[in-house]
Every structure is written in C-alpha cells, then in structure tokens.
C-alpha cells in the first residue's frame, strides 16, 4: 500500500494498519539514519487518518513492545540468577568434599586434625611448601589442595553476594519476604520468575521437596509440609506443630509476591507487614 513516498523508512512503512504484530516488530527492529515528520508522513501514506490516531496508535504499540521486551529481559536475568545459585551450591558442595579429603590427609601428619572448610583454610595458611624430599612434596600438595578449598569457599561467598545484589533487582517482593538467596532458590526450582508466578501457593510450599511429594502421591509417606522454604526462619523457627501452618502462610505470600514481581514489578512493603502479623498469630496459638 505504500509506494516510494516520503514515508521513507518510518516504522509504519509497508505495514497493514490493522496488523499490530507487524507494527511491534517494526518498532523493535526497525532503524533509520535520521528522523522525519513521521506523523505527517503516516497520514499522507494513508496509514492513519489524522494526527490523533497516529499518536494513539504509537502510544499503544510502543507500550506493548516495551512491555514484551521487559518480560524477555527478565527471562534472561532470571536465567543468570539461576546459574548463580546453582554455581554457588556446586562450589560449596565441592569445597566440602575436598575439605573432607584435606582433613583425612592432615590426620597422617597432625595429631588432632579439625574438619570442614575452616580447617582446610588453616592448613592452607600453615603448611609450608617444601618440595626437596618426598615428605615435603606430600605436605606441599596437601597445602595446595587446602588452598583450592579456600579459593572455592571464597568463590562461593562471592556468588552469594552477587545473588544478594541481583535477586532483589529481579524479584523485589519475593526477595523482601524470603531473603535474596531463598528467593533465588525458589526461582531456580520453578524454572524462572514467570514460572514461579504461575505456581499455586501449594506448589510453592513444597518446591524442593519433590521426592517426598512423589513418594506421598504414590502412597508412601505423609504429604510434605514444606520444601526449600523450610530454611526460612518463619518455618524452621516455628514450633513443629505449627510449622505446616507457617509454611502455608509463607508460601501464600510468596506466591502473591512472585505474581507482583512478574506482572507489575512495584514494591509492596505491606506484604511484609501482613506476613509478620500472620506468623505472629500462628506462633501465639496455644497447642
């Protein structure tokens, strides 16, 4: 419908006025070297009747495009957070495994070997690296291995700090209620913020307890009261007989928070107050 007119390379060029998906693609991917009197050109070329209609169309299409782009960007950001939290778990697991090895090995040289990553850090700091005899070479390998544990431990902390910065950007309300690391775990378990936003609260409650849930569904064992949200103080710090109720309330608020984070993105501090109040009431119940 557009011949070679002054419409030049305006976003509306060659587009069926009724086809919004074409218009969106043109806004998103189109280019031009210089601006031109696009509203007038759009009227001349018959894309719109008048200026009012041009601006209304532009308003609608630009908003739709921006909204879709924000969604898409959010998906990428969520994938990065998911990799970060999984990498942190990997690094911590490997650090612990290697620390066990360091501890067992150190037992051959020292009378009272400690355990864990902290002990490996001590060995890394103390064991001298002298390679001139076989014994020295062995000690030097032990010290070096301990130094890898220390480096992994530091990487784990750096990953944690990154998660603590990135997750509130992605999901401010879930991060506020759950803390950034648990928020990242929930997003990872659901497979993204959008996926988390679509979960019913009963599913959020048992995310991370899939083994127990499927055992229950196939007739073995009771239904799990909580998944990974167990680490939240409002669950683990609540008396066992009220823990199921606390987990249900927390999961309910998290499910709402995830929907706000995904669909609108504004911060709702009142969610925290509501949660605090509900938990206080549960904990105040007699048994």
């Amino acid at each position: 419908m557009n011949e070679e007119t002054e419409s030049g390379s305006g976003w509306f060029r060659g587009i069926d006025p009724g086809d919004r998906s074409e218009a969106r693609r043109a806004i998103e991917d189109g280019t031009a070297d210089a601006p031109a009197a696009w509203p007038a050109n759009a009227i001349e070329s018959g894309f719109v009747e008048n200026e009012r209609e041009y601006y209304d169309t532009l308003h609608e299409v630009t908003a739709t495009v921006a909204r879709a782009q924000v969604r898409e960007r959010e998906g990428t950001d969520a994938q990065r957070v998911i990799h970060c939290v999984r990498a942190m778990d990997d690094v911590e697991r490997v650090a612990n495994e290697l620390a066990e090895r360091v501890s067992a090995w150190a037992g051959t040289s020292f009378d009272d070997p400690g355990t864990g990553v902290e002990y490996a850090r001590e060995i890394a700091a103390e064991t001298p690296g002298r390679d001139d005899d076989l014994r020295g070479a062995m000690d030097s390998r032990l010290g070096s291995l301990a130094a890898r544990v220390r480096a992994l431990d530091e990487e784990g902390q750096a990953l944690r700090e990154t998660i603590e910065r990135a997750t509130p950007e992605l999901a401010p309300n879930v991060s506020m209620l759950a803390g950034p690391v648990l928020a990242a775990r929930l997003i990872a378990l659901a497979g993204g913020l959008e996926a988390l936003a679509k979960q019913p609260s009963g599913t959020v409650q048992v995310l991370g307890a899939e083994d127990a849930l499927f055992a229950h569904l196939s007739g073995r064992g009771s239904s799990p009261k909580h998944g990974v949200i167990y680490v939240h103080e409002y669950v683990s710090g609540t008396a066992p007989e009220h823990r199921g109720a606390a987990a249900r309330v927390l999961a309910g608020k998290l499910a709402i928070a995830a929907r706000i984070d995904h669909y609108s993105g504004d911060r709702r501090p009142e969610l925290q107050d509501e949660l605090d109040e509900r938990i206080a009431r549960i904990r105040g119940r007699g048994d």
Binding site: S9, G10, W11, A26, I27, G30, T31, A32, D33, A34, P35, A36, A37, W38, P39, Y55, D56, L58, H59, T62, A63, V65, A66, R67, Q69, V70, R73, E74, D77, E169, S264, G265, D266
Partner: protein
C-alpha cells in the same frame, strides 16, 4: 529577571511551601492539590533547572525527546506540559515503572532503546524542539552529539552531566570541562552546577550549531 515558566508549569503552595507543579496523574507519592501535583526538584534535575531560572527555552506544548527516562519521575512532569514526548530508557527494570507512568499519558511514548544508538529509534521519533538528556553512562558528550540529528534548527539540548558516571575518581570540574570540549555540533548557551540539590551534576543548555 528569570524567564517565564513553560505553560502548564506553575509555582503553587503545598503544605505552606511554594513548589513547582504540573497537572497530571501522581507518580511517585508527591503531594497533590486538585489536578496539580508537586514537582520534586530534589528528585528531578530538569525541575531544578527550571526552579533556578535557567533559560531552557521550554514554553509548553513542544515535542520532546527524553534520553535516560529511568522510572519516569521527571518525564512524567514533562509529558504533563509538553506535546508528544518520546522517552528512551535502556534498563529494563525502570521501564516497568515508566510504563505505568505512560499509561494515563497518551502523549508519552516509551522506547526501550540505547541512547548511544539513535538509528535504532530514528524510525519512530520525529524531529523535536527539545532533547532532554539525563543518562548515567560514560560518553555523555557523545550521546548528545549523536542525538543532535533529532533537534529542529532552533531546538534546545537540556543536558545534565553526571560527573560520577564519566569517572568516579576525576575532579567533577574537569569532567564538566571535558564534556563541553567534546560536545560536537552545539553552541553552549548556559551552564550551571546543580549542587547542593544534585551533587556533582552540571546542567547545560545548548542549541545546534
């Protein structure tokens, strides 16, 4: 004598204090008085420029390209008194808020684009009377020069230079000087530092050469 405020911007009293105000839907919890809402000049550098009486050339009803719209605090006021207002912002997170700001403002067009690449939005943005630039990126002079193509002959660039965005360690005065010497295609008409309202920010009014 200070220049007149643009049509659609007035000084009005809120809780006993005289403040700049525009007419529109409230955005960031600012005080309102009927249709009028206060323009917080501590949160808005353009608001500070108008409040200080800088010759912005704004008269109301003009076409505006706003670079670095962020969550829309300032651009919401601009859209209240200006005509078609194109808001460019590159960070996805604030664009969500910006979309909320644009929703009741039919003259505000949100573009999630990189202000350093004007060719990615020149097919949408028409020639404008005013380019407002408030970008937190290095190379602020390059951004202004690259976007000169949008300005009409007698248009105005209203730029706010953030010293810390260029180089956190450098002396702000040197950063401001460097900005002016790197600004190509413009004649600088007026500059003013916005301290203490906005530390280490220089407001620049320029027109295309």
């Amino acid at each position: 004598m200070a220049p007149d405020l643009p049509a659609g911007v007035e000084r009005r009293r809120f809780d006993g204090n005289e403040r700049l105000a525009t007419r529109g839907e409230p955005v960031y919890g600012e005080p309102t008085d009927g249709e009028w809402r206060a323009w917080d000049i501590r949160r808005s550098k353009l608001g500070a420029m108008l409040d200080r009486g800088m010759e912005t050339g704004l008269t109301g009803g003009e076409t505006v390209l706003y670079l670095g719209a962020a969550a829309g605090t300032t651009v919401s006021h601009v859209a209240d008194f200006a005509g078609p207002t194109y808001a460019v912002e590159f960070a996805a997170r604030p664009v969500r808020d910006l979309l909320g700001v644009a929703q009741p403002r039919s003259n505000l067009f949100v573009l999630l684009k990189d202000a350093r690449k004007p060719e990615t939005y020149a097919h949408v943005v028409e020639p404008v009377d005013v380019v407002v630039q408030d970008v937190a990126t290095r190379g602020q002079a390059r951004v202004a020069s690259a976007n000169r193509r949008f300005l009409t002959e007698d248009g105005r660039l209203l730029a706010v230079v953030k010293a810390r965005s260029e180089d956190v360690t450098a002396d702000p005065a040197e950063v401001f000087e460097a900005f002016q010497s790197q600004l190509q295609g413009y004649e600088v008409l007026e500059t003013q530092r916005l301290d203490p309202l906005h530390d280490d920010h220089l407001a620049v009014v320029a027109r295309p050469e």
